[in-house]
Symmetry: C2
Subunit: 257 residues, 2 copies
Amino acid sequence: MTRAQKGTVYLVGAGPGDPELLTLRAASLLETADVIYHDDLVSQEVLQLARATALVISVGKRCGAKRVTQLEINNKLIDSARRGLSVVRLKSGDPLIFGRAGEELKALAVAGTPCEVVPGISAAMAAAAALRCSLTSRDAASSVLITTGHHAQSPNAALAPTRVVYMPSSDLNEQAEKWLREGNSPEMPCALVSRVSQSGQTIFRTTLGELATAPAPVSPAVLLAGWALDQMHELGVLELQRAPREIELPTVPFSCE
Amino acid sequence: MTRAQKGTVYLVGAGPGDPELLTLRAASLLETADVIYHDDLVSQEVLQLARATALVISVGKRCGAKRVTQLEINNKLIDSARRGLSVVRLKSGDPLIFGRAGEELKALAVAGTPCEVVPGISAAMAAAAALRCSLTSRDAASSVLITTGHHAQSPNAALAPTRVVYMPSSDLNEQAEKWLREGNSPEMPCALVSRVSQSGQTIFRTTLGELATAPAPVSPAVLLAGWALDQMHELGVLELQRAPREIELPTVPFSCE
C-alpha cells in the first residue's frame, strides 16, 4: 500500500461512484491522506474510505453557483501542502476529462507544490460496461468521441478535439501529414507516451511540425495531439513523484509494421 | 472484497500496466478467479496478483499471428464457465476500447453464460496523468477523440465514431436534431445511462429518431450514440449480475438548465 506523502497534492479520479471502481492507488491515498477536497459528484460511499481523522471538505460547484471559487480551491491545496499535510483532490470520474484540473495543476506548478495525478474510471467506460457493449468494433466504429453537453465546459464547439491515438503507426510522418492536411498548425503540441505507468515509461514532447522526426515509439504507445497539451509545454512535465523503478528498454522495439 | 463467482465470466480491464492502477474490483476478481485468460499486453506485475492455484493462460495475438483464434477464445471462456469455474478474461486498458470484446460478449450471450464487465483505466487517461495535462480545457479543447493507428482495428477510417456525451443537456431534441442534420440515420442506436455504477443506475435504450421522446436523464448521466451500440440492441442488456442495491431516485432531477 502506498501512503499519501506529506506536503504533496494528489489529483485523484474517484471513478463513477461505486467504490469498488476506485483504483488500488486511489483507495490507498484516500485511506492515508490528511485532508480530502472533493467535488459534489463524488459519492458518499467513496468518501467513506477516508480515515476517521481526515478532514473531508466539499469544494463542489453546482450549476455555476460557486460556494468556493477556483482561486480559493487552488490556494487551499497549496496552503494545505505547505503546512505539511498530505492532500487528496478528489474528482469524479477521471480528473483530466472535463475536470477543470488544468487550472489546479498550473497553480500547483507555479507554487512549486509536489503533485501527482492518479487516473480514474471515466463515465464513458463505466457506461459501456453497464451496457456490456464495446465502444469500438471493426465493423461499426473505429473511434470514440467524448464531448459534454454542459455549456460551461464547451463555450466553443468549434474547438478541435484532443486526439489520442492508441498504438500509433511507426510511420509518424504519415500521421503528421494527415493532420497538417486537415488544417492543423505545425505548432500544435504533440506527445508520445510509451509503456505508460510501467517501468521504462518514456515521454517525448514535440509539435505537429516536428512529429515526423520523433523516434519511433516503443510499444505499447499512445500519441496525443491538440492545443490542450499546450499546458504540458508551458509548465513542462516535472519529474514524477513516484520512486523510479528499474528501466528495462528492449533492444528491438516491438512493431507490427 | 468481492469473490469471483463460479460459472461466471468477468471481462476485466487490467489498466495500463501498473498493478496499482487496477480497480479494487478487478484486483478482487483476479485474486479469487479459478482461471485467467489474458492478452499479451497485460503486465507480469498484474498477473502476479492471481492466486497461486489459478490457471493463468495467455491467449494473446501479436501482429495478427494468432496462436489462438477468437473462436477458440470464445469457446474456452464458455467451457470453463460451464465446468463451474470462475473465469476472468483480462484485457489491457479498458476491455471495451479496441479490445475486440464485442465478439466475446456476443458468444457469451448466445451461450447464456453469465458475465460482467469491469472497466479499466484506459491508456488515454493514463497518458494524460503521466503528462499531468488535462485532455480538455475551456480555452483549448472541449472534446477528446480516441482512435487507433493499428490497421487491423480500423479497416474503415470513414466509420463514424461512437459518441459519448457527458452531462447531456436535458433538451435531448436539440441534440438529436444536430446529429440528424449531420446525416446520421434515425435508426442509429442511442443509450442514456444515469448514475452509472451507483444505486439507482438506470439504462434507457433508444434510437436517434426516438431520442427526443426519451425521459430527461437524471444527473449524472451519459448519452451514447453510434452503430457500435447495435450489439446492445441485438443482445439486449441482460440483468446485471451484481446484487441490486437499494434504489433511491430523487424526486426532482438535478439540472443546470
